[in-house]
């Protein structure tokens, strides 16, 4: 099982601003090496939001306008006072309430190393009290790509003892004969492991490219 948490800092430039963070989330999924699992995207603030919608400028404006309409600036909010904990005026109740409407997280499944996402789904970090420096985080959690690959590509079905773990990394070119050779090697190593009471996980990383000379 693999779990990776990353934090990303951005500077926003407007009081309300929808920032497309989809490319970054996708790139990080690729880099994370999680084959099957979940990606959680979180804001670390209370006057921002995260949402998913179609990535069109007119919709972005509609979302911003709708939030401002639902939570107008001029209402008599209680959160309009000096906040001793910060040393500044707490006069951003509408920002907090708009954030509460949006929520602070989104998540997607990861399948085959890719985010399971509709073609029109854009992931937005939504600034609601900008400009500010902001941080959002991503947690990628699931089976590591290489271990899964091992099971499906090598045909490994042996029981791996969770208390004893041994990984054997084998890099081969993506040539079927070479893979078969490595399968045999993997089974042999696995068998030896069983004789000694050691669970063996064979990690077979397939490199795509020209076959190596024999």
């Amino acid at each position: 099982m693999k779990s990776i948490v990353k934090r990303f800092t951005i500077v926003t430039h407007h009081e309300t601003e929808l920032i497309d963070i989809t490319p970054r989330v996708l790139a990080e999924v690729e880099a994370a090496g999680v084959r099957d699992g979940t990606a959680f995207v979180l804001s670390l603030h209370t006057t921002t939001g995260l949402t998913v919608n179609e990535g069109l400028p007119d919709l972005e404006q509609d979302i911003a306008d709708c939030l401002q309409g639902l939570v107008p600036d001029g209402r008599a909010y209680k959160h309009a006072r000096f906040l001793h904990e910060d040393g500044q005026m707490a006069i951003n109740a509408p920002s907090h309430l708009r954030g509460a409407l949006l929520g602070f997280e989104v998540f997607f499944p990861i399948e085959g190393g890719r985010l399971v996402r509709g073609a029109r789904q854009t992931i937005y970090f939504v600034e609601l009290d900008g400009p500010q420096e902001r941080t959002w985080s991503c947690r990628y959690w699931g089976n590591s790509r290489s271990a899964s690959a091992c099971r499906s590509e090598v045909g490994f079905t042996g029981e791996v003892r969770p208390d004893v773990h041994l990984s054997v990394g084998v890099h081969v070119a993506a040539v079927q004969s070479a893979v078969r050779d490595q399968e045999q090697l993997a089974h042999r190593v696995q068998g030896e492991g069983r004789e000694h009471g050691v669970g063996v996980e064979v990690v077979l990383a397939v490199e795509h490219g020209e076959p190596r000379a024999p």
Binding site: R81, F82, G87, Q88, M89, I91, P131, Q132, E133
Partner: protein, 278 residues
Amino acid sequence: MIDFHTHPVMIKELVQDDPALQRAVREVFQLYFPAQPLEVFLAEMDEAGVERAVLLPVDCTTAHGCRIVTNEQVAELAGKNSRFVGFASVDPAAKDAPRRLEKAIRGLGLKGLKLDPALQRFHLDDRTLAWPLYQTCSELGIPVLIHCGLSWSLVGQAKYARPLALEEVAQEFPRLRMVIAHCGWPWVEEALLVALKYRNVYLDTSIVYSGTPGDALRHVLAERIGLDVLERSLPRQLLFGSNYPRADIRRTVRGMAALPLSPSLRERIARKNAEELL
């Protein structure tokens, strides 16, 4: 629009490598939220429609052993970005305070003096500490912005910051242009008295006590002073100020915009009066 009252105390580029400033901001000025990049300050001005901002430091070396941003740091910010207008601060208790002020103005190119009697702990009518600085400001032809009224710092003492003390100062220094910050809240009537009486005394709108900036501005300017008084008697003596980052500039601008002012007074508060003063 010109914001006549901002504090460059939460700029990450200044604070992150300056432990003395970090201590001053936390323990004396008393702000406790994370510093933000300079880019955010400028974006805040853009979002609010503010073209220039006056940067105010506070030298309280004698009272608290620190300077809440140095004159050199203010000069560096103003030197790098023409949207910033730097004011100086000197410790009134320093023996060479007038000379330091002259050096900050002539040497560093700063444009005015900031005094904070609540934090610097001197009386505004103190002839030994304050008079030489007023004299120097008069001779240099620079304005002095004076904190009056409530100081949100727990180590600040408002007893030093009563606007009425400036009546005597105005009499003694008729050429000195003074800005009473925060409209002197809660002593708004004292500030109003001095400003009504002396045409070289200004009021800034950085009123921060409770509610939104819109609430505070409406209460003080419309209900306590009266918009008709502003229109008739003080159109040339009002300055827009936000007190950023104690209050954000955006919402203070919106609070001013919500007041039913004449276009000419609005323009004077937003820009003209500040331009003439600077």
